[in-house]
Each structure stands twice: as structure tokens, then as C-alpha cells.
Point group: C2
Chain length 459, copies 2
Amino acid sequence: MPIEHALSELETVLGDRLSRSKSDLDAHGGSETYFPLAAPQAVAYPETTEEVSRIVKTCNAHGVPVIAYGAGTSLEGHTSAIRGGVTLDMSRMNKVLRVSQGDMDAAVQPGLTREALNEDLRATGLFFSVDPGANASLGGMAATRASGTTTVRYGTMRDNVLGLEVVMADGRIIRTGSRARKSSAGYDLTALFLGSEGTLGIITELTVKLHGQPEAVSAGICAFETMGDAVEAVTAVIQMGLPMARIEFLDAEAVRAVNQYSGTDVAETPHLFVEFHGTDTGVAEDAARFAEIVEDFGAKGIEVATKPEERSALWTMRHHAYWACLGLKKGVQGVVTDVCVPISSLAQAVEETAADIEASIIPGPILGHVGDGNFHAILLVDPRQPDELEAAKALAARMNERALALGGTVTGEHGIGMGKLAYMEAQHGDAWDVMSDIKRTLDPNGILNPGKMVKPGNR
Amino acid sequence: MPIEHALSELETVLGDRLSRSKSDLDAHGGSETYFPLAAPQAVAYPETTEEVSRIVKTCNAHGVPVIAYGAGTSLEGHTSAIRGGVTLDMSRMNKVLRVSQGDMDAAVQPGLTREALNEDLRATGLFFSVDPGANASLGGMAATRASGTTTVRYGTMRDNVLGLEVVMADGRIIRTGSRARKSSAGYDLTALFLGSEGTLGIITELTVKLHGQPEAVSAGICAFETMGDAVEAVTAVIQMGLPMARIEFLDAEAVRAVNQYSGTDVAETPHLFVEFHGTDTGVAEDAARFAEIVEDFGAKGIEVATKPEERSALWTMRHHAYWACLGLKKGVQGVVTDVCVPISSLAQAVEETAADIEASIIPGPILGHVGDGNFHAILLVDPRQPDELEAAKALAARMNERALALGGTVTGEHGIGMGKLAYMEAQHGDAWDVMSDIKRTLDPNGILNPGKMVKPGNR
């Protein structure tokens, strides 16, 4: 068995940092959502780039799959070891290597989580902006081109990664990008690896942009009578050019979930959560203009949180929404959708989705980063009821098809993984062939997260 | 001759839109800078994507080079037909296909220039932000990942292109990206084609982001005693997080050139040109804080231009700087450098460059988009004096090596073309091989702008 040869070679290098314990394999082959367990044959815990290179080289020689694993917060089954192999758990490569206050950038290892980075930055007056909610690893966030609540202002991982160190399928170590803020020097390999989900190379270091902590922050929530009013209010605010740092939507059911989970007593109607960053006068002006616009859409009960602890409570509430939704019904799993559409189609997309869910047999609270046109329905299914999973998949399919028809995407931020592979053809057409060609060139033996991202048959 | 077969096939398709007149060939094989004439054997003027596909397919079948040509404003010899072939002049594909005010995006053809697009947008309250100075075509700007004066606020082409239509080397037509503001759906082919300089495919359509015209704009200039003071002032302003829409540096000699060219009487010392976009109170606050900070670095003579015609005069002055510099000495050509470094190293990079130029036999005014860490020395050489071109190349080499040593890039915005190919290895190391592998996969016959971007021998 090639895998046995590979593992015995790896054991020589890694010693007890190559784990074959069942609990470890299962923990790395599972998923936060509905994907079935698909465990690797071993879990490696590399500590250096050179070790990663060595592991990949060995696996490449033996044709053994290598699956990079960050914090395991993927919602689309990215790390499922569907063809077995070795999972590279990057959690020991979790150091902040450099912080440059003057240049507002940092070099970090991929296993570092975004919260750990921000903790480390606390004294510097800087922060790392990309905020997917979960305390994901930065390598995983890069590999899925993640984004989140602050993207409307500070961008996605695509906008916040200046360069990468990557181990290629043959073990070569390359560096992409530079520390300059922009560059026209050749193909944008950084962007190519961002979102490649471990199928083109293993990210072993990232240079990320940091942002200055805003002088003043103002956050608030407001309630709407209908979902349509809330979403149209967002569209109007965006079109007025108001510089929001965050603008989040929760439907009535998501608010109810959050109330139950966090013990809050927010009115159970559609809500927007908003935040402004700037100077004292700037955020006051922004908040006042925001209130003026959303009142035209019937916004009520505008509450402003200016104290850090109030704001923190507000965003914690939002960040726990996924778990809160799962708490709405006992024993359920979530099928999480992630469409993103042009902002002018957002109201239509959200309302038609809500109507579909209303007509289905399962609940599905809706929430999202509406400033980007991105929203999620958390479709709640009882895994013992096959018709519920079927209903969820049908709802998700309709959302995805609608998003594509509106010029959008089936995934705004969660990535392809197992869950969206079936939509690659519909979304990309012949461009999917080009992706598959690139994959074949950079990973000729098909060892990097095989079975994901590219055409079946294309490894 | 394969080329004759190809051309006679193309003539059937294009009729008199396939030109073989010497003046046309020479006009397309020349350069705005010091690169020697390298003319194609024919110039094709396609009018549709399907025609581009047909041309490329024919050339691919016969192994004939295809060089995409926009407005011919490249400073690095991108469009030199160094192996002959067919130049695709995209100037007839210059339509605005769609403008969506609600989504703040537009679909355009690649031959449209940025000024023509902004003219078209005038009544909408929106504008296209990327501003390289020259009235470049949008296809060319995409192909070189261009940027310019407003990049410090609105980003480069990388940040302002949502999607592309591309004709591949085999004639396939693909679409990349989507109209959503963000997407995690697969490899970022949009980013891969941006900056690929016509070597991976021919861009036949772009979906670009638009921005709302700011409610208020305030621009100004201020003078410094030394170059170091000016650059350090910029670094300080950036680090304070002041949201500048533009921040440009001109050294004393560049100011002198601009005065001569535009008939202005700006004091001939190092200057910053700055602009703020926002609300009335916002830009007033920003301008006041800017003044406060730069005064600490000895800024004098702060002049504010709030009227549109004054601002327009100011930026026209800046945009003509390249031609103004060429006017400093009769009969000279420009060797234009384009380094970009982390902002904390900017003062060092600029000052060491100035000292090098001072010690050389040629003049070289310095100016740049200092908010991005990007600056240019316009090295002025008499083409009849070989030692002057040698001196310019030696100065450029030192600038490039210094930029790389400081973690920067040899080209912030002009691209590789002919002028920077020699630095690809130093800048990218083994990552250059990865680029070359991608090129070989997507253009196996090496017909797309051959001799550029990738390793010699790799076509």
C-alpha cells in the first residue's frame, strides 16, 4: 500500500506528530454541517514550512492525498478526506512572525486564528479586519477567500493578503506577492491561491494588511416591519455612499434564535445591525444620515451602542447567530446557504428565498452581510429525517439558481468544498475547464485535496 | 510561410480591417519610451468577441503571434511585436455595454478609454476611479493591473474589475467573476488575467466597479524644504489613517518641468498634491488635520483648491508631468522607473534614488503616488548618446534592486513588458516557474504576446 510506505516515511520525520488515533482521524474528517464523516488515514502536525514541504513531497511520491486543515470551521466540507490520505493540521504553525506598525502589515503562520492575531495586535492600535464570525485560522480564511461582517468597508481576504508562502505539490516552496501595497509584476499568484481551498498548494505563511483602530465607533440596531423594507433600506444607504463598517440583516426568526441563545430581548421582527468607523464628528454624521434614510423605510426603535461593551455584546450576538439558529430545534443540523447577488437584486433574492422557505417543511432563518449583497439561510434539518435534508437541498438549489440568474454567485464567502461543487459548471461554464487545466498543471498527481474544486476526472 | 496563410485567412474574415500598411505596422510596433521599433506583419481591427476568437484560432493554428493593443500608452514596451505576428487593435471595440446605477457597475469593451467611460457616466453621479494619468484603454489597464493617483483610496484595477470575458489561445470564449461584490467560487481567474499582459488570453469585455461622485472634494498643494520632509509627512499622514483620495509627490525638478510645460508658477521645491473626498464637514476636517500633520514636517504655502476648475487645473498639471519632464531637455526620451515599497521605507528609497541621480550624468525628476509607496524617476536620455541610456539603465537597476531589498516590487503599476522582464527572476524566484507553467498550459503554442512575461525558452 503506497499509503503505508508514505506514513512510515512520515513517522520518521514527525514521530508522534503523526497521529493515527481514531479519535483524531474522526475529528479531522468531520464537518460543522451535514457532510458525512470522511476521515484521513493519518493526521500530521507540522511545525515548519520545511516539514510541510517534506510531507507533501513524500505524499506526492506515493500518490497519497494531502488535505490542509486549519481550525475546522468550514461550513462546506472543505476538509473532508473523501479519498483518505494525510490531513495536515496546521494548528502548531500559529505564530505571529512580524508586525510592522509603520507599514500596517504582519507576517503570520497559517494556523494562527484571527482572534489570536487581534489579541496579539491589541497594544498596537492596529487590527486585522476580516471577520467571518467563526474564529477561523488565517490559512483557512485565505484558502477559502473568506470575508464577513466588516467586508463592506475593509474587503475580503482577497483585499487583505499582500503575499503568501506556499508549498507546491512537488514540495517546492514559493513566495507570492510582496510587501508593497500594489504591484504589476507578473501573474497574481497570491490571488490564485486565495480561494484555491488547498487544491493548488499549501499556504505556510501569509503577509496580511492591518488597519488602524478607528478613533470613534458607533454601532446600532433598528427594526423593520418587513424583510423587504429592511433590505431596500440597505440598498438605499449603499447607493447614498454612506461608509458603513458593518451592515448586517437578521430576519424575525434569526432574531428569535439570537434572543433564545443570548438571553436578549430584541423585538422579533427583521433587523439591521450597523456600525460606523471614523472620527467622532464623522461617525455622528454618518449615524444621523443613516437614521434619516432608514426611517423612510419604516425603521423603528433605532438603538445606538457607543460603549465598547455594548457594541461587543451586539456583535457577539450576531456572531453566535449560527449556533443560535441550530438551537431553535433540538437535534438539528444546519445546511448553510451563502448566495451573493448584485445589490439591486438583493430584495428580490431575499424575499423569494423567504417565500420558498415558508412553503417548505423546514425552518430557515435568514441573515447576512447585506451590504455586500450576501446572505445565508440556515436550513435546519433533522438528520434522521431524509425528507428534511432533501427539502433543504431543494431550497438551496433554488437559491443558487436564482443567484446565478441574477448575475451573482453561489458562494459569497464560504467556498466550494463539497457543498457547491455541483454548481461549478453552472457558475463558470468553460472557465471551469481553465481552472481544471491549472489544477492539473500545478498538481499533476492530483494529491492536493483531491475530489474538490475541479471537474471530476480531473482529480 | 505560416504567417501568409494566416493573413490570407484573416483577410477573408476582416477585409480591409486587416491592415498591412507600413505606417500602421510601425505605429503599432513603436513605444512611448525607449524601446526600439518592433512591428507586426499585420494589424487587425476586430469589432466583436467572435471576431477576436476567430482571429486567435487562426493564429493559433498557424503558430502566429497575437499581440493585443489598446491605446498604446504602455511605458514598458508591452505591445512591441518582437516576434512579428498580428497586432489586435481593440480600438473599435470601445462601447459602454451597460451601466447599472443601482449596482454601481458597468460592462464595457476593452478598447474604451477611461476618459470616454467617465464622459459617458457624467450624468449618472458615478465615476470610474482608476486613473493612470494617460487616457489608456480599459482593456490595457486591466492587462497591466494599472493604477494611479486615486489608488490610495479606490484601489487598482485588481480592486475595480468584477469580471472579464476572455478569448483563450484556442479561441474559446470564457467569462470570469460575477456581478456580485464578492465571491468564493473557485480560482480567481479574473485576478489571474489582470496583469497577464495579453500572454494568457485576450480580454474582450470587462465588468468594472463604479463609485459615487463624492458630495464634496477638497484638493491642495503644499511645499517642503526637502524631499525627505515631504515623504516623511506622507508616511505620518497615512499612519494617522487620514482617508486621502489622492496624495502625490513631485520633487523640485518635476515642479520646474510642470511650471515650464503648463505655464504655472509653483515654488520649485518638493511638493505634495493632495485631495479629499467626502461630505462638506468631512473634507474640511480631513484637510485641517492634514495641514496640522504636514506643518510638523515644515510644510509651507498650503494652497487649497475647492472650485472644480482649480482642482482640474491642479490634476491636469500632475497628469502632464511625464510630458513636462520630457520637455526639460530637447530631443530626450524617458526611461521611466516604477518601484513600489512598503511605506516605512519610502523616504529611504526616494532619498537614495535622488542621490544616485544627482551623482549620474543624466537628469531624472522624481514623482509618484506616494500614498501607495510608489514612485517614478523619469530618467531623461538623449537616444544618440549611448552612455546616457547606459546610465539610465544602471540607475533603474539600482532602484529595482533597492525596491526588492526593501520587500517591494520593481513595478507598482506599469507592468513587466520588455522593460522589467530581466527582474522577474529576482522578484519572484521559483514562483516565476509557476507562472511559466501556467502560461504553457493556457497557451501551449506560445502565440499570445510571445517573448514577454515568462521565462525565455518558455515562450
